[in-house]
Protein backbone atom coordinates (compact mmCIF):
# COMPACT_ATOMS: atom_id res chain seq x y z
CA UNK A 1 0.00 0.00 0.00
CA UNK A 2 1.46 3.33 -1.09
CA UNK A 3 0.23 4.95 2.09
CA UNK A 4 2.35 2.71 4.25
CA UNK A 5 5.48 2.92 2.18
CA UNK A 6 5.79 6.55 3.17
CA UNK A 7 6.70 5.50 6.67
CA UNK A 8 10.42 5.16 6.69
CA UNK A 9 12.11 3.36 9.47
CA UNK A 10 15.49 4.57 10.62
CA UNK A 11 18.00 1.82 9.90
CA UNK A 12 18.11 -0.32 13.03
CA UNK A 13 21.55 -0.23 14.55
CA UNK A 14 21.95 -3.91 15.19
CA UNK A 15 25.15 -5.17 16.66
CA UNK A 16 27.31 -7.40 14.49
CA UNK A 17 27.94 -9.80 17.33
CA UNK A 18 24.28 -10.81 17.30
CA UNK A 19 24.76 -12.38 13.89
CA UNK A 20 27.78 -14.36 15.00
CA UNK A 21 25.92 -15.67 17.98
CA UNK A 22 23.16 -17.10 15.84
CA UNK A 23 24.42 -20.73 15.58
CA UNK A 24 24.25 -21.08 19.36
CA UNK A 25 20.49 -20.48 19.39
CA UNK A 26 19.38 -23.91 20.59
CA UNK A 27 21.87 -23.81 23.46
CA UNK A 28 20.64 -20.33 24.30
CA UNK A 29 17.06 -21.53 24.18
CA UNK A 30 17.79 -24.19 26.78
CA UNK A 31 19.66 -21.69 28.88
CA UNK A 32 16.70 -19.31 28.75
CA UNK A 33 14.32 -22.08 29.73
CA UNK A 34 16.51 -23.08 32.67
CA UNK A 35 16.64 -19.43 33.72
CA UNK A 36 12.84 -19.15 33.56
CA UNK A 37 12.47 -22.41 35.52
CA UNK A 38 14.70 -21.07 38.25
CA UNK A 39 12.75 -17.80 38.32
CA UNK A 40 9.42 -19.66 38.55
CA UNK A 41 10.80 -21.71 41.46
CA UNK A 42 11.75 -18.53 43.25
CA UNK A 43 8.39 -16.91 42.55
CA UNK A 44 6.49 -20.03 43.68
CA UNK A 45 7.98 -19.43 47.10
CA UNK A 46 6.68 -15.87 47.49
CA UNK A 47 3.22 -16.32 45.92
CA UNK A 48 0.19 -15.94 48.17
CA UNK A 49 -0.74 -19.41 49.37
CA UNK A 50 -4.46 -19.25 48.61
CA UNK A 51 -4.68 -17.71 45.15
CA UNK A 52 -8.45 -17.97 44.89
CA UNK A 53 -9.17 -16.14 48.18
CA UNK A 54 -6.49 -13.57 47.44
CA UNK A 55 -7.89 -12.72 44.02
CA UNK A 56 -11.48 -12.72 45.27
CA UNK A 57 -10.77 -10.36 48.17
CA UNK A 58 -8.80 -7.84 46.12
CA UNK A 59 -11.45 -5.20 45.40
CA UNK A 60 -10.57 -1.55 44.68
CA UNK A 61 -13.46 0.86 44.27
CA UNK A 62 -13.48 4.62 43.85
CA UNK A 63 -10.52 5.06 41.54
CA UNK A 64 -9.87 7.56 38.77
Amino acid sequence: MAEREQIKKPAPQREESEVEDAPATSGQGEELKAELDELLDEIDEVLESNAEDFVKSYIQKGGQ
Binding site: L39, L40, V55, Y58, I59, G62, Q64
Partner: protein, 507 residues
Protein backbone atom coordinates in the same frame (compact mmCIF):
# COMPACT_ATOMS: atom_id res chain seq x y z
CA UNK B 1 9.99 27.07 20.25
CA UNK B 2 8.15 24.59 22.43
CA UNK B 3 7.89 25.57 26.10
CA UNK B 4 9.91 23.36 28.47
CA UNK B 5 8.00 20.12 28.92
CA UNK B 6 7.88 20.30 32.72
CA UNK B 7 6.27 17.01 33.68
CA UNK B 8 5.24 14.69 36.50
CA UNK B 9 3.29 11.56 37.35
CA UNK B 10 0.48 11.01 39.86
CA UNK B 11 -0.05 7.40 40.88
CA UNK B 12 -3.08 5.98 42.67
CA UNK B 13 -2.08 2.77 44.42
CA UNK B 14 -4.21 -0.26 45.19
CA UNK B 15 -4.41 -1.01 48.90
CA UNK B 16 -5.42 -4.12 50.86
CA UNK B 17 -5.91 -4.34 54.61
CA UNK B 18 -5.40 -7.99 55.51
CA UNK B 19 -6.30 -9.83 58.69
CA UNK B 20 -9.52 -7.91 59.41
CA UNK B 21 -13.15 -8.39 58.43
CA UNK B 22 -14.11 -4.72 58.29
CA UNK B 23 -11.43 -3.17 56.12
CA UNK B 24 -12.20 0.34 54.87
CA UNK B 25 -9.99 1.61 52.03
CA UNK B 26 -10.23 5.29 53.03
CA UNK B 27 -9.29 4.53 56.64
CA UNK B 28 -6.53 2.18 55.47
CA UNK B 29 -5.11 4.81 53.10
CA UNK B 30 -5.20 7.45 55.83
CA UNK B 31 -3.51 5.12 58.30
CA UNK B 32 -0.83 4.28 55.76
CA UNK B 33 0.08 7.90 55.06
CA UNK B 34 -0.27 9.14 58.63
CA UNK B 35 1.98 6.31 59.82
CA UNK B 36 4.64 7.46 57.39
CA UNK B 37 4.29 11.12 58.39
CA UNK B 38 4.59 10.25 62.10
CA UNK B 39 7.59 8.02 61.45
CA UNK B 40 9.38 10.73 59.51
CA UNK B 41 8.58 13.33 62.12
CA UNK B 42 10.00 11.00 64.76
CA UNK B 43 13.21 10.15 62.89
CA UNK B 44 13.61 13.46 61.07
CA UNK B 45 14.43 11.60 57.84
CA UNK B 46 12.95 12.25 54.44
CA UNK B 47 11.02 15.06 56.03
CA UNK B 48 7.51 15.84 55.13
CA UNK B 49 6.72 19.17 56.54
CA UNK B 50 4.99 18.48 59.81
CA UNK B 51 1.72 20.36 60.07
CA UNK B 52 1.90 21.74 56.55
CA UNK B 53 -1.26 20.95 54.65
CA UNK B 54 -2.23 21.14 51.03
CA UNK B 55 -3.67 24.47 49.94
CA UNK B 56 -6.79 24.00 47.79
CA UNK B 57 -6.94 27.65 46.75
CA UNK B 58 -6.26 27.01 43.06
CA UNK B 59 -7.95 23.63 42.57
CA UNK B 60 -10.48 23.79 39.76
CA UNK B 61 -10.65 20.29 38.30
CA UNK B 62 -14.07 21.08 36.82
CA UNK B 63 -12.69 23.63 34.37
CA UNK B 64 -12.83 22.38 30.82
CA UNK B 65 -10.30 23.36 28.15
CA UNK B 66 -13.15 23.58 25.65
CA UNK B 67 -14.92 26.23 27.74
CA UNK B 68 -18.10 25.19 29.48
CA UNK B 69 -18.30 21.53 30.45
CA UNK B 70 -20.93 19.59 28.51
CA UNK B 71 -24.20 19.02 30.33
CA UNK B 72 -24.13 15.87 32.40
CA UNK B 73 -20.37 15.55 32.60
CA UNK B 74 -19.07 14.75 36.03
CA UNK B 75 -16.29 16.98 37.25
CA UNK B 76 -14.09 15.44 39.92
CA UNK B 77 -14.88 16.50 43.47
CA UNK B 78 -12.26 17.92 45.75
CA UNK B 79 -11.92 16.10 49.05
CA UNK B 80 -10.42 18.66 51.40
CA UNK B 81 -10.93 16.72 54.63
CA UNK B 82 -8.61 13.78 53.90
CA UNK B 83 -4.93 13.51 54.75
CA UNK B 84 -2.88 15.58 52.36
CA UNK B 85 0.82 16.16 52.85
CA UNK B 86 3.51 18.09 51.02
CA UNK B 87 6.93 16.46 51.15
CA UNK B 88 10.34 18.12 51.18
CA UNK B 89 11.14 16.56 47.80
CA UNK B 90 8.34 18.73 46.42
CA UNK B 91 5.87 15.83 46.06
CA UNK B 92 2.28 15.56 47.29
CA UNK B 93 1.25 12.44 49.23
CA UNK B 94 -2.45 12.10 49.95
CA UNK B 95 -5.68 10.14 50.08
CA UNK B 96 -7.62 10.49 46.85
CA UNK B 97 -11.05 8.85 46.72
CA UNK B 98 -10.27 5.48 48.32
CA UNK B 99 -6.60 5.20 47.41
CA UNK B 100 -3.24 6.44 48.59
CA UNK B 101 -1.83 8.70 45.88
CA UNK B 102 1.62 10.11 45.20
CA UNK B 103 2.28 13.02 42.84
CA UNK B 104 5.92 13.49 41.90
CA UNK B 105 7.33 17.02 42.04
CA UNK B 106 7.53 18.92 38.75
CA UNK B 107 10.51 17.63 36.75
CA UNK B 108 12.31 18.97 33.69
CA UNK B 109 12.90 15.59 32.05
CA UNK B 110 11.82 11.95 31.90
CA UNK B 111 14.80 10.61 33.85
CA UNK B 112 13.97 12.82 36.82
CA UNK B 113 10.34 11.72 36.67
CA UNK B 114 11.55 8.12 36.76
CA UNK B 115 13.75 8.93 39.75
CA UNK B 116 10.89 10.53 41.71
CA UNK B 117 8.54 7.73 40.71
CA UNK B 118 11.07 5.29 42.19
CA UNK B 119 11.41 7.43 45.33
CA UNK B 120 7.62 7.32 45.57
CA UNK B 121 7.74 3.50 45.65
CA UNK B 122 10.31 3.65 48.44
CA UNK B 123 8.07 6.03 50.40
CA UNK B 124 5.14 3.62 50.01
CA UNK B 125 7.35 0.75 51.24
CA UNK B 126 8.37 2.80 54.29
CA UNK B 127 4.71 3.66 54.84
CA UNK B 128 3.74 -0.03 54.94
CA UNK B 129 6.54 -0.67 57.43
CA UNK B 130 5.46 2.28 59.59
CA UNK B 131 1.83 1.11 59.54
CA UNK B 132 2.94 -2.37 60.65
CA UNK B 133 4.27 -0.78 63.85
CA UNK B 134 0.80 0.56 64.64
CA UNK B 135 -1.40 -2.37 63.57
CA UNK B 136 -1.99 -5.60 65.52
CA UNK B 137 0.55 -8.27 64.48
CA UNK B 138 -2.00 -10.29 62.48
CA UNK B 139 -2.98 -7.31 60.33
CA UNK B 140 -1.12 -5.69 57.44
CA UNK B 141 -1.51 -2.92 54.86
CA UNK B 142 -0.34 -4.02 51.42
CA UNK B 143 0.17 -1.60 48.54
CA UNK B 144 -0.03 -2.52 44.85
CA UNK B 145 1.29 -0.37 42.02
CA UNK B 146 -1.19 -1.38 39.33
CA UNK B 147 -4.38 -0.01 37.77
CA UNK B 148 -7.09 -2.62 38.09
CA UNK B 149 -8.57 -5.08 40.56
CA UNK B 150 -9.50 -7.51 37.79
CA UNK B 151 -13.21 -6.96 38.53
CA UNK B 152 -13.88 -3.88 36.45
CA UNK B 153 -12.57 -1.28 38.90
CA UNK B 154 -9.69 0.87 37.71
CA UNK B 155 -7.50 3.53 39.30
CA UNK B 156 -5.11 5.76 37.46
CA UNK B 157 -1.53 6.68 36.84
CA UNK B 158 -1.81 10.14 35.33
CA UNK B 159 0.89 12.18 33.62
CA UNK B 160 1.08 15.96 33.32
CA UNK B 161 2.90 18.02 30.72
CA UNK B 162 3.32 21.79 30.52
CA UNK B 163 2.04 23.11 27.18
CA UNK B 164 1.85 26.52 25.55
CA UNK B 165 -1.65 27.99 25.77
CA UNK B 166 -1.23 29.22 22.18
CA UNK B 167 -1.12 25.68 20.73
CA UNK B 168 -4.57 24.91 19.28
CA UNK B 169 -6.23 22.20 21.36
CA UNK B 170 -7.60 20.25 18.37
CA UNK B 171 -4.04 20.01 17.11
CA UNK B 172 -2.98 18.41 20.40
CA UNK B 173 -5.95 16.02 20.29
CA UNK B 174 -5.08 14.47 16.92
CA UNK B 175 -1.39 13.83 17.53
CA UNK B 176 -1.63 12.99 21.21
CA UNK B 177 -4.34 10.42 20.43
CA UNK B 178 -2.23 8.64 17.85
CA UNK B 179 0.69 8.50 20.27
CA UNK B 180 -1.33 7.49 23.35
CA UNK B 181 -3.04 4.66 21.46
CA UNK B 182 0.16 3.26 19.95
CA UNK B 183 2.70 3.86 22.73
CA UNK B 184 0.85 1.14 24.65
CA UNK B 185 3.16 -1.41 22.99
CA UNK B 186 5.94 -0.32 25.34
CA UNK B 187 4.05 1.40 28.19
CA UNK B 188 1.72 -1.51 29.01
CA UNK B 189 2.07 -3.31 32.34
CA UNK B 190 0.24 -6.38 31.06
CA UNK B 191 -2.99 -7.93 32.34
CA UNK B 192 -4.51 -11.39 32.56
CA UNK B 193 -7.97 -11.36 30.95
CA UNK B 194 -10.23 -8.47 29.96
CA UNK B 195 -12.58 -6.21 31.90
CA UNK B 196 -14.32 -4.76 28.85
CA UNK B 197 -18.05 -5.54 28.78
CA UNK B 198 -18.81 -8.78 26.97
CA UNK B 199 -15.27 -10.10 26.74
CA UNK B 200 -14.05 -13.14 28.64
CA UNK B 201 -10.64 -14.47 29.57
CA UNK B 202 -11.14 -17.16 26.94
CA UNK B 203 -11.27 -14.44 24.29
CA UNK B 204 -8.52 -12.27 25.77
CA UNK B 205 -6.26 -14.50 27.91
CA UNK B 206 -3.64 -11.76 28.24
CA UNK B 207 -3.38 -8.16 27.04
CA UNK B 208 -0.64 -5.54 26.87
CA UNK B 209 -2.17 -2.89 29.16
CA UNK B 210 -4.06 -2.58 32.43
CA UNK B 211 -6.07 0.45 31.32
CA UNK B 212 -7.25 0.05 27.72
CA UNK B 213 -10.46 -1.74 28.79
CA UNK B 214 -11.63 1.36 30.66
CA UNK B 215 -11.71 4.02 27.93
CA UNK B 216 -15.06 4.88 26.39
CA UNK B 217 -14.73 8.38 24.91
CA UNK B 218 -12.33 10.22 22.64
CA UNK B 219 -12.31 13.59 24.41
CA UNK B 220 -13.86 14.61 27.75
CA UNK B 221 -13.56 15.90 31.29
CA UNK B 222 -14.24 12.75 33.32
CA UNK B 223 -11.62 10.62 35.02
CA UNK B 224 -13.75 8.09 36.92
CA UNK B 225 -16.59 7.32 34.50
CA UNK B 226 -16.75 7.31 30.71
CA UNK B 227 -12.99 7.87 30.69
CA UNK B 228 -11.73 9.78 27.62
CA UNK B 229 -8.46 9.19 25.75
CA UNK B 230 -7.85 12.96 25.83
CA UNK B 231 -8.78 14.60 29.11
CA UNK B 232 -9.84 18.24 28.92
CA UNK B 233 -9.26 19.31 32.51
CA UNK B 234 -8.06 22.90 32.30
CA UNK B 235 -6.20 23.49 35.52
CA UNK B 236 -2.72 24.69 34.57
CA UNK B 237 -1.33 25.24 38.10
CA UNK B 238 0.62 28.01 36.38
CA UNK B 239 0.00 31.30 34.60
CA UNK B 240 -3.07 30.44 32.53
CA UNK B 241 -2.36 33.18 30.00
CA UNK B 242 0.76 31.33 28.85
CA UNK B 243 0.24 27.73 29.79
CA UNK B 244 -2.03 24.76 29.85
CA UNK B 245 -1.31 21.43 31.51
CA UNK B 246 -2.09 18.36 29.45
CA UNK B 247 -3.47 15.78 31.88
CA UNK B 248 -2.89 12.31 30.39
CA UNK B 249 -4.98 9.56 31.98
CA UNK B 250 -4.45 6.61 29.63
CA UNK B 251 -1.16 5.27 31.00
CA UNK B 252 -0.40 2.24 33.14
CA UNK B 253 1.56 2.45 36.37
CA UNK B 254 4.88 0.81 35.58
CA UNK B 255 7.16 -1.29 37.73
CA UNK B 256 9.80 -1.09 34.98
CA UNK B 257 11.91 2.07 35.07
CA UNK B 258 12.53 1.75 31.33
CA UNK B 259 8.77 1.77 30.69
CA UNK B 260 8.20 4.84 32.87
CA UNK B 261 11.15 6.61 31.24
CA UNK B 262 9.89 5.87 27.72
CA UNK B 263 6.26 6.62 28.57
CA UNK B 264 7.07 10.14 29.77
CA UNK B 265 10.04 10.77 27.49
CA UNK B 266 8.39 9.90 24.19
CA UNK B 267 5.19 11.74 25.12
CA UNK B 268 7.12 14.90 26.04
CA UNK B 269 8.91 14.80 22.67
CA UNK B 270 5.68 14.23 20.72
CA UNK B 271 4.02 17.16 22.54
CA UNK B 272 7.03 19.40 21.87
CA UNK B 273 6.77 18.48 18.18
CA UNK B 274 3.05 19.31 18.23
CA UNK B 275 3.83 22.70 19.75
CA UNK B 276 6.49 23.42 17.14
CA UNK B 277 4.13 22.18 14.44
CA UNK B 278 6.61 19.85 12.78
CA UNK B 279 4.51 16.68 12.43
CA UNK B 280 3.67 16.41 8.73
CA UNK B 281 1.27 13.54 8.93
CA UNK B 282 -1.91 13.09 10.97
CA UNK B 283 -3.01 9.59 11.88
CA UNK B 284 -6.75 9.85 12.57
CA UNK B 285 -8.22 6.53 13.69
CA UNK B 286 -11.62 5.60 12.37
CA UNK B 287 -12.59 4.56 15.93
CA UNK B 288 -9.95 5.64 18.47
CA UNK B 289 -11.55 3.86 21.44
CA UNK B 290 -11.62 0.57 19.51
CA UNK B 291 -8.06 1.17 18.33
CA UNK B 292 -6.95 1.56 21.94
CA UNK B 293 -8.27 -1.89 22.84
CA UNK B 294 -7.15 -3.45 19.59
CA UNK B 295 -3.55 -2.46 20.28
CA UNK B 296 -3.77 -3.77 23.82
CA UNK B 297 -5.20 -7.15 22.71
CA UNK B 298 -2.73 -7.75 19.86
CA UNK B 299 0.33 -9.44 21.36
CA UNK B 300 1.67 -10.04 17.84
CA UNK B 301 1.83 -6.26 17.24
CA UNK B 302 0.89 -6.84 13.60
CA UNK B 303 -2.84 -6.12 13.27
CA UNK B 304 -3.58 -3.03 11.19
CA UNK B 305 -5.59 -0.16 12.70
CA UNK B 306 -8.16 1.46 10.46
CA UNK B 307 -7.71 5.14 9.74
CA UNK B 308 -10.48 7.61 8.90
CA UNK B 309 -9.16 7.99 5.34
CA UNK B 310 -9.74 4.31 4.62
CA UNK B 311 -6.10 3.23 4.84
CA UNK B 312 -4.64 1.28 7.71
CA UNK B 313 -1.47 1.23 9.73
CA UNK B 314 0.00 -0.78 12.63
CA UNK B 315 0.89 0.62 16.05
CA UNK B 316 4.55 -0.12 15.36
CA UNK B 317 4.41 1.80 12.07
CA UNK B 318 3.01 4.89 13.79
CA UNK B 319 5.68 4.64 16.46
CA UNK B 320 8.43 4.31 13.81
CA UNK B 321 7.03 7.38 12.09
CA UNK B 322 6.99 9.41 15.33
CA UNK B 323 10.55 8.28 16.12
CA UNK B 324 11.68 9.27 12.64
CA UNK B 325 10.12 12.71 13.13
CA UNK B 326 11.73 12.99 16.57
CA UNK B 327 15.19 12.42 15.08
CA UNK B 328 14.55 15.16 12.51
CA UNK B 329 13.19 17.42 15.23
CA UNK B 330 16.31 16.91 17.33
CA UNK B 331 18.39 18.08 14.35
CA UNK B 332 16.21 21.05 13.43
CA UNK B 333 15.08 22.34 16.83
CA UNK B 334 17.30 20.64 19.42
CA UNK B 335 15.93 18.86 22.47
CA UNK B 336 16.27 21.56 25.13
CA UNK B 337 12.52 21.51 25.77
CA UNK B 338 12.71 17.85 26.86
CA UNK B 339 15.88 17.89 28.93
CA UNK B 340 18.66 18.05 26.28
CA UNK B 341 20.86 14.94 26.77
CA UNK B 342 17.97 13.10 28.43
CA UNK B 343 15.96 13.71 25.25
CA UNK B 344 18.78 12.02 23.28
CA UNK B 345 18.65 9.08 25.70
CA UNK B 346 14.91 8.80 25.15
CA UNK B 347 15.29 8.70 21.37
CA UNK B 348 18.04 6.06 21.49
CA UNK B 349 16.08 3.82 23.85
CA UNK B 350 12.90 4.35 21.85
CA UNK B 351 14.63 3.07 18.72
CA UNK B 352 16.19 0.12 20.51
CA UNK B 353 12.83 -0.92 21.99
CA UNK B 354 10.92 -0.58 18.69
CA UNK B 355 13.62 -2.62 16.94
CA UNK B 356 13.30 -5.39 19.54
CA UNK B 357 9.50 -5.28 19.53
CA UNK B 358 9.57 -5.83 15.80
CA UNK B 359 12.17 -8.63 15.86
CA UNK B 360 11.18 -10.50 19.02
CA UNK B 361 9.10 -8.83 21.77
CA UNK B 362 10.12 -11.53 24.27
CA UNK B 363 13.69 -10.22 24.11
CA UNK B 364 12.42 -7.23 26.14
CA UNK B 365 11.53 -9.27 29.26
CA UNK B 366 14.12 -7.29 31.21
CA UNK B 367 12.82 -3.91 30.01
CA UNK B 368 9.05 -3.87 29.56
CA UNK B 369 6.46 -4.86 32.15
CA UNK B 370 4.00 -6.54 29.83
CA UNK B 371 6.69 -8.74 28.33
CA UNK B 372 8.16 -9.66 31.73
CA UNK B 373 4.70 -10.53 33.04
CA UNK B 374 3.64 -12.42 29.92
CA UNK B 375 6.76 -14.58 30.11
CA UNK B 376 5.89 -15.55 33.70
CA UNK B 377 2.23 -16.20 32.93
CA UNK B 378 3.16 -18.44 30.00
CA UNK B 379 5.83 -20.23 32.02
CA UNK B 380 3.49 -20.88 34.93
CA UNK B 381 0.62 -22.00 32.67
CA UNK B 382 2.88 -24.55 30.99
CA UNK B 383 4.49 -25.77 34.20
CA UNK B 384 1.18 -26.52 35.93
CA UNK B 385 -1.06 -26.98 32.88
CA UNK B 386 -3.31 -24.05 33.87
CA UNK B 387 -6.31 -22.70 31.97
CA UNK B 388 -6.26 -18.95 31.22
CA UNK B 389 -8.90 -18.26 33.89
CA UNK B 390 -7.11 -20.14 36.68
CA UNK B 391 -6.96 -17.90 39.75
CA UNK B 392 -3.25 -18.69 40.18
CA UNK B 393 -2.57 -16.66 37.03
CA UNK B 394 -4.71 -13.74 38.23
CA UNK B 395 -2.88 -13.91 41.56
CA UNK B 396 0.50 -13.84 39.84
CA UNK B 397 -0.68 -10.82 37.82
CA UNK B 398 -1.65 -8.93 41.01
CA UNK B 399 1.45 -9.91 42.88
CA UNK B 400 3.69 -8.65 40.09
CA UNK B 401 2.72 -5.19 41.43
CA UNK B 402 3.02 -5.93 45.17
CA UNK B 403 5.38 -3.29 46.57
CA UNK B 404 6.55 -5.35 49.58
CA UNK B 405 10.16 -6.24 48.77
CA UNK B 406 9.71 -9.73 50.25
CA UNK B 407 6.66 -10.42 48.07
CA UNK B 408 7.17 -8.35 44.91
CA UNK B 409 7.32 -10.43 41.75
CA UNK B 410 8.49 -7.50 39.60
CA UNK B 411 11.53 -7.13 41.87
CA UNK B 412 12.55 -10.70 40.99
CA UNK B 413 12.33 -10.72 37.19
CA UNK B 414 15.60 -8.88 36.52
CA UNK B 415 14.22 -5.55 35.23
CA UNK B 416 16.91 -3.14 34.07
CA UNK B 417 17.43 -0.21 36.40
CA UNK B 418 18.05 3.34 35.19
CA UNK B 419 18.21 4.92 38.64
CA UNK B 420 20.90 4.06 41.18
CA UNK B 421 19.83 3.15 44.72
CA UNK B 422 21.54 6.30 46.03
CA UNK B 423 19.76 8.56 43.54
CA UNK B 424 16.39 7.04 44.40
CA UNK B 425 17.03 7.38 48.13
CA UNK B 426 18.09 11.02 47.93
CA UNK B 427 14.95 11.80 45.92
CA UNK B 428 12.87 10.78 48.95
CA UNK B 429 13.85 14.02 50.67
CA UNK B 430 15.55 16.30 48.10
CA UNK B 431 13.59 18.20 45.44
CA UNK B 432 14.65 18.49 41.78
CA UNK B 433 16.97 21.49 41.33
CA UNK B 434 15.69 22.78 38.01
CA UNK B 435 11.99 23.51 38.48
CA UNK B 436 9.93 25.49 41.02
CA UNK B 437 9.75 22.27 43.09
CA UNK B 438 13.21 23.30 44.32
CA UNK B 439 11.84 26.43 46.00
CA UNK B 440 8.90 24.52 47.51
CA UNK B 441 11.07 21.66 48.79
CA UNK B 442 13.82 23.85 50.22
CA UNK B 443 11.37 26.16 52.01
CA UNK B 444 9.67 23.10 53.54
CA UNK B 445 12.99 21.61 54.57
CA UNK B 446 14.18 24.74 56.29
CA UNK B 447 11.11 26.61 57.49
CA UNK B 448 8.24 24.14 57.85
CA UNK B 449 7.15 25.66 61.21
CA UNK B 450 6.57 28.99 59.42
CA UNK B 451 4.57 27.45 56.57
CA UNK B 452 0.82 26.99 56.88
CA UNK B 453 0.06 25.41 53.53
CA UNK B 454 1.55 24.80 50.12
CA UNK B 455 0.40 23.67 46.70
CA UNK B 456 1.76 23.49 43.16
CA UNK B 457 1.82 27.23 42.54
CA UNK B 458 2.15 28.92 45.93
CA UNK B 459 3.32 28.68 49.53
CA UNK B 460 1.50 30.34 52.44
CA UNK B 461 3.79 31.58 55.20
CA UNK B 462 2.96 32.54 58.78
CA UNK B 463 5.89 34.32 60.40
CA UNK B 464 3.86 35.48 63.39
CA UNK B 465 4.11 39.27 63.31
CA UNK B 466 2.10 39.94 60.16
CA UNK B 467 -0.88 38.54 58.23
CA UNK B 468 -0.46 35.24 56.38
CA UNK B 469 1.55 35.79 53.27
CA UNK B 470 1.11 33.83 50.05
CA UNK B 471 4.18 33.57 47.82
CA UNK B 472 2.99 32.78 44.30
CA UNK B 473 5.02 30.48 42.03
CA UNK B 474 3.09 30.79 38.79
CA UNK B 475 6.12 30.08 36.59
CA UNK B 476 7.10 26.36 36.79
CA UNK B 477 10.56 26.99 35.32
CA UNK B 478 11.52 29.51 38.01
CA UNK B 479 12.39 28.92 41.66
CA UNK B 480 15.29 26.70 40.55
CA UNK B 481 18.64 26.40 42.31
CA UNK B 482 20.11 28.81 39.75
CA UNK B 483 17.32 31.26 40.37
CA UNK B 484 16.84 31.19 44.16
CA UNK B 485 19.70 29.05 45.52
CA UNK B 486 21.76 32.05 46.63
CA UNK B 487 18.74 33.89 48.00
CA UNK B 488 17.74 30.89 50.14
CA UNK B 489 21.32 30.42 51.33
CA UNK B 490 21.48 34.08 52.38
CA UNK B 491 18.31 33.91 54.50
CA UNK B 492 18.36 32.69 58.10
CA UNK B 493 14.60 32.68 58.59
CA UNK B 494 11.32 32.60 56.69
CA UNK B 495 10.74 36.18 57.85
CA UNK B 496 13.98 37.25 56.22
CA UNK B 497 13.04 35.43 53.03
CA UNK B 498 9.69 37.25 52.93
CA UNK B 499 11.26 40.66 53.39
CA UNK B 500 13.90 39.90 50.73
CA UNK B 501 11.14 38.84 48.33
CA UNK B 502 9.37 42.12 49.01
CA UNK B 503 12.32 44.16 47.78
CA UNK B 504 11.72 45.58 44.30
CA UNK B 505 13.18 43.43 41.53
CA UNK B 506 13.90 40.52 43.86
CA UNK B 507 11.99 37.98 41.79
Amino acid sequence: MAVPKICGIETEFGIAHTGTEDANPIAASSLLINSYLSEVERTGEGGPAAGVTWDFEDEMPGNDIRGIAPLGSLAPEIETHLVNAVLTNGARYYVDHAHPEMSTPECSNALDVTRYDKAGELILVRSMEAAAQVLPPDQELVVYKNNSDGKGNSYGCHENYLMARATPFFHIVVHATSHLVTRQIFTGSGKVGSEAPGLTTAEVPFQITQRADFFEEEVGLETTLKRPIINTRDEPHADARHYRRLHVITGDANMSEVATFLKVGTTAIVLAMVEDNVLPREFRFRTPVQAMRQVSYDLSLTKPLELADGTSVTALEIQWDLLDQARKYADSHGLDAVGGPVGEMVIDRWEQVLTSLEADPMSLANQLDWVAKYRLIQGMSQRHGLRPDDSRLAALDLQYHDLRPERSVAARVGLESLISADDARSAISDPPTDTRAYFRGQCLKRWAPSIVAANWDSIVFDVGDEPLRRVPMMEPTRGTVDHVGQLLADCDSAGELLSRLREPGSR
